[in-house]
């Protein structure tokens, strides 16, 4: 394994191990997602048709809101005991840290999304099984993008005093192309259209993912040193 991959891997290992032991993020995110589902149910009432029409938007709103909480916390661990400073002092390409953090955030978000998706099916009586495979492609591409841009902005705002306010204010506008493509593709798939019909949205998602990941890799060192 190359030094770069080893360093990205050890950041991922450290973040997952810390999360498994502290259970700070995942428990809170799962509970938060459950609350969101209840809120949506109360807000939209018993009209199933109305619920089904709003489902793609609600689904991604749930992912984004849970993502905001999880991603915002991902660099908090580095603030304790000046670990951020220690990371700055490590020799080598700092983008390996970004890759490790991105993978950790992606996995956390994926766990939350699977949980939310299962509950959505249960709460709103929607059989997601026929569209699960194409929907997974949309979720995968959407989540990579959300995690990539979220990890970058979380690093950018981690050392800022008003980070709780600044993080969503910066992140949400940057997520617009992703959300537009993801919600539209999800809507089409839930209406029973084939994956080929949402190819243009998948292309937009893939390009956005690529742009966000490349920007993250190129700028992370400057963010860490700022």
């Amino acid at each position: 394994m190359t030094g770069y991959a080893r360093r990205a891997g050890i950041v991922l290992w450290k973040d997952l191990l810390t999360e498994r032991r502290s259970k700070e993020s995942l428990n809170a995110l799962l509970f938060f997602s459950l609350l969101l589902l209840f809120l949506f149910e109360f807000a939209l009432g018993p009209d199933r048709e109305r619920l089904r029409a709003a489902l793609p938007g609600l689904l991604w709103l749930g992912f984004v809101l849970a993502g905001l909480l999880g991603l915002g916390k991902s660099f908090m661990i580095e603030r304790d005991n000046d670990c951020w400073e220690g990371l700055r002092l490590t020799p080598g390409d700092k983008s390996a840290i970004y890759v490790g953090k991105l993978l950790g955030n992606f996995l956390t978000m994926a766990v939350v999304e699977v949980f939310v998706l299962a509950l959505f099916g249960l709460f709103y009586d929607v059989d997601l099984r026929p569209v699960l495979a194409p929907l997974s492609v949309v979720l995968l591409l959407g989540t990579v993008g959300l995690a990539a841009v979220g990890t970058l902005f979380a690093a950018m705002t981690a050392q800022v005093r008003a980070r709780e306010l600044l993080f969503p204010v910066l992140l949400l506008p940057a997520q617009v192309p992703l959300l537009l493509a993801a919600v539209s593709a999800t809507q089409s798939l839930l209406l029973g259209r084939p994956l080929a019909e949402v190819g243009h949205w998948l292309q937009l998602l893939a390009v956005a993912d690529l742009v966000y990941v490349v920007v993250g890799l190129l700028t992370f060192e400057f963010i860490l040193d700022a």
Partner: protein
């Protein structure tokens, strides 16, 4: 090993360091002594490449640390207030993480040997959260041992340590020096800060007021020199400004 020349640092219009110059050979230890806000931590952060000086030059083991900070970082070990410890990881896991990040050999035998060296071999699998300040300091020093650091920068390392911990730390510094390493300690403690030092630089208001070999002076003489220099410097208003700028 360290050649700092005319280092100056200012935050906006407030000068925090003024014309700081010193050289330190391999195997030597310099103690930076001064009141709060004198500029000790600023010097250490510049030496550690964590802060860029406004002007001046800095060479670490022949490497221009301002032009090639990455190359210099491979030679640096820092033990600061935070100690870079993840509270939810064990001692062994913390060492594994930082050793891999530094590109070193993180085999369990090597990590355990380092923990044995800092006398933490009985708490290898304990989480760092349960450690005392002294144990965390030792764990941070084990991290330095596992790196390729030839330069060790310690910021107020004796704070929170008991008598035994201070003695142990001084012995560690002596051992690091004996192996050819160079040490800079920022401290405001006479009794413990100077025990392993070869030279003492007295700072106030961001300037080095005196730079003396410790062998030439007794502790009482250093204390007398310190008090006379600090009193004469009228540094208090400037120190307050410095602290404000740093916060």
């Amino acid at each position: 090993m360290i050649a700092a020349s005319h280092l100056r640092k200012s935050f906006g219009s407030t000068a925090v360091l003024e014309d700081v110059s010193f050289e330190l050979a391999a195997g030597q230890c310099l103690a930076l002594l001064g009141p709060n806000g004198a500029g000790k931590t600023t010097i250490l952060r510049i030496l550690a490449t964590l802060l860029r000086p406004t002007s001046g030059s800095l060479a670490l083991a022949g490497v221009d640390a301002l032009k090639e900070p990455e190359a210099a970082r491979a030679l640096i070990g820092v033990v600061a207030h935070g100690s870079y410890i993840y509270e939810d990881l064990s001692a062994l896991e913390n060492l594994r993480f930082w050793t891999v990040m530094a590109g070193g050999d993180a085999s369990p035998e090597r990590l355990r040997a380092a923990l044995r060296q800092v006398e933490l071999d009985s708490v290898v699998h304990e989480r760092a959260r349960t450690f005392s300040a002294g144990m965390k300091r030792r764990l941070a020093l084990a991290r330095v041992l596992l790196s390729r650091a030839r330069l060790l920068f310690l910021d107020e390392p004796f704070t929170g340590l008991d008598q035994q911990g201070r003695k142990w730390l001084n012995e560690f510094v002596l051992g690091f020096k004996a192996s050819g390493g160079t040490v800079v300690i920022a401290t405001h403690s006479f009794a413990t800060g100077l025990a392993a030092a070869d030279r003492v630089a007295i700072l106030a208001g961001g300037r080095i007021l005196a730079d003396q070999p410790c062998a030439d002076l007794s502790w009482e003489a250093i204390r007398g020199l310190y008090e006379s220099l600090i009193d004469a410097d009228e540094a208090m208003p400037r120190d307050a400004m410095t602290r404000e700028a740093m916060s």
